[in-house]
Amino acid sequence: MMSSLISISNLNKAYGSKKVLSGVNLSLNAGQIVGLVGPNGAGKTTCLQAILGLTDFDGDISVLGHHPRKDRVKMLNDVAYISDVAILPKWLKVSQALSYMQDIHPNFAIEKAQAFLAKTNIAANDKVKALSKGMVAQLHLALILAIDAKVLILDEPTLGLDILTRRQFYNHLLEDFYTEEKCIIVTTHQIEEIEHILTDVAFIQQGKIVLAQSTDDIKERFNLVAVSNEQVAQADELQPLFKNSMMGLTTMLFDNQDKETLQNLGKVTVPSLADVFVGIMNKETC
């Protein structure tokens, strides 16, 4: 049976008069890898920071039964976080980072971090300022994956990294961290790269969750149809979420339409999450 690790209900946050999050409801269970996807400024980082207790908020958030603001330290024993805005300081040595983590974190296994680092070119005596951006990300990952956390929060963790390092990052995540008892929540702009590892997605736009579903359900629910020019008018009646014309074919995205009807219009394929994301975002802005 799945148990809820994070539950968010009616989460609201405003900076002055600007509303950043409005009425966000989400529930994350053990075993889920959830992609929180949205355009820039949609409120993803604020949402994650509220979950981590790094910013105040209105509404209710429970992370492993803890209130993120009132119970932040206890909660952080079981929650790990990697973000492009949570940078390792340049003066820090690798050995110092390991020693510090071991001293302050009850769930940190230094051997695990050392074993991970042994597979990289990072030496214990290196300072962060001497490492490349990819190596810093590897070090950060080594520190975080060595924490036996129940919840892992990743906010644009691979921003600015090359594709090889990005792939490596997510491979390590699955191999060295993920188990059925844990839950990962990740935001990224490169949704197509992590599509295959996500179990669920939540699309966020202007501070509101516009779609939150399992990736399996999304692939059932949405269909991409390559419609020939003659049938475009007929297909338009079915109110596609999105259409894109190219070289005599119009690709249309449909939400909850009968598969047989769609097959009469053209070749039906399963859309990628990126297609669905673009479709949903366009619908909401229309």
């Binding site: 900076y15 980082t45 920071q49 981590l52 790094l54 910013t55 105040d56 932040r72 330290v73 206890k74 952080l76 024993n77 790990a80 976080y81 973000s83 805005v85 949570a86 940078i87 390792l88 300081p89 340049k90 003066w91 820090l92 040595k93 110092q96 020693s99 510090y100 983590m101 001293d103 302050i104 974190h105 009850p106 950060h140």
Partner: protein, 301 residues
């Protein structure tokens, strides 16, 4: 409060400011060692004149005054360490909460299970106690080195020239003299707590130029107050008086106090302790509470 987390947090602060906290006291001690050596090498040494002088000293040595003489000499040796240490402390307090926001590592530190109370307390303890301890220790080591040299000199003089300075060395009460200086460390830290707290508040509040934030508001307050006092014909400026009165102890006062009141080496200590009162507690508590509030509530992204 979890002591192992506190220790780890202080260790982290020492790593961060490692260069400054290691090399400044070492260089200072180096200056004390090499300048006399250099002058000795450059000017040479007139052994005959020196021996005559030493003999004169042994003849006129007043053992009851040696303790005071040594105490003043020890203070003179410690003073540059305390003064430079104070500059390092001010630098540390102004940057300790600002630097981690500037390099964006604050989010990393705050995503670990260390409370904000612990972070602020560890930084305060590092700046107010650990840094002075480092500088006091450097001065003490230099003093130990000098005492060792004095012992060697005594041995050489008594064996080779039949001049005994042992009585003088024994009556210097070296341990108690240095002990009194070390005892002043905690009262100084408590007395300066309002200043340290203010600097920490400037460090957490400033988005740029924390040094200006540490100085300008005080200057502005004093200038505005002076103008108001002048125009309203009030008797005296409250803040101006408050600051001048609270920080009226200077190193000169302390040395004079301990020298003038001959038998009492603790006079300086008493003077320091007398200055600590309700103002210390109220101002420090208020400023530290404000620092904590900003740490918890200031948005960094």
């Amino acid at each position: 409060m979890n002591t192992s987390i506190m220790k780890a947090s202080i260790k982290k602060e020492l790593w961060e400011f490692n260069g400054m906290l290691k090399w400044v006291p070492i260089s200072l001690a180096g200056v004390f060692i090499f300048i006399p050596l250099l002058s000795l090498i450059l000017n040479g040494i007139d052994m005959q004149a020196l021996l005559v002088e030493i003999e004169q000293i042994t003849q006129v040595q007043q053992t009851d005054r040696m303790g005071e003489f040594f105490f003043v000499a020890a203070i003179a040796l410690f003073s540059p360490f305390i003064a430079i240490g104070f500059i390092v402390q001010v630098y540390y307090f102004v940057t300790c909460l600002f630097d981690e926001r500037r390099d964006q590592s604050v989010m990393f530190w705050r995503s670990l299970p260390v409370s904000d109370e612990m972070t602020i307390a560890s930084k305060l303890l590092t700046g107010a106690i650990v840094i002075p301890v480092i500088f006091f220790a450097a001065a003490t080591m230099l003093m130990v080195l000098m005492v060792l040299l004095a012992i060697v000199a005594c041995v050489v003089l008594s064996i080779g020239f039949d001049i005994s300075l042992w009585g003088m060395l024994a009556s210097a009460n070296i341990l108690s003299g240095v002990g009194y200086i070390w005892l002043s460390l905690l009262p100084i830290a408590i007395w300066l707590l309002p200043l340290y707290s203010w600097l920490m508040l400037a460090s957490i509040y400033a988005n740029k130029a924390p040094f200006l934030w540490a100085v300008l508001p005080i200057v502005a307050l004093l200038v505005i107050e002076t103008i108001v006092v002048h125009y309203l014909h009030l008797s005296e400026p409250f803040f101006g008086h408050f600051i001048a009165d609270y920080f009226s102890i200077t190193p000169d006062n302390l040395v004079n106090a301990s020298v003038e009141q001959e038998k009492s080496r603790s006079a300086a200590l008493q003077l320091l302790i007398a200055q600590i009162d309700y103002r210390t507690v109220l101002v420090s508590a208020g400023l530290l509470a404000a620092t904590y509030w900003f740490r918890v509530n200031k948005s960094e992204s």
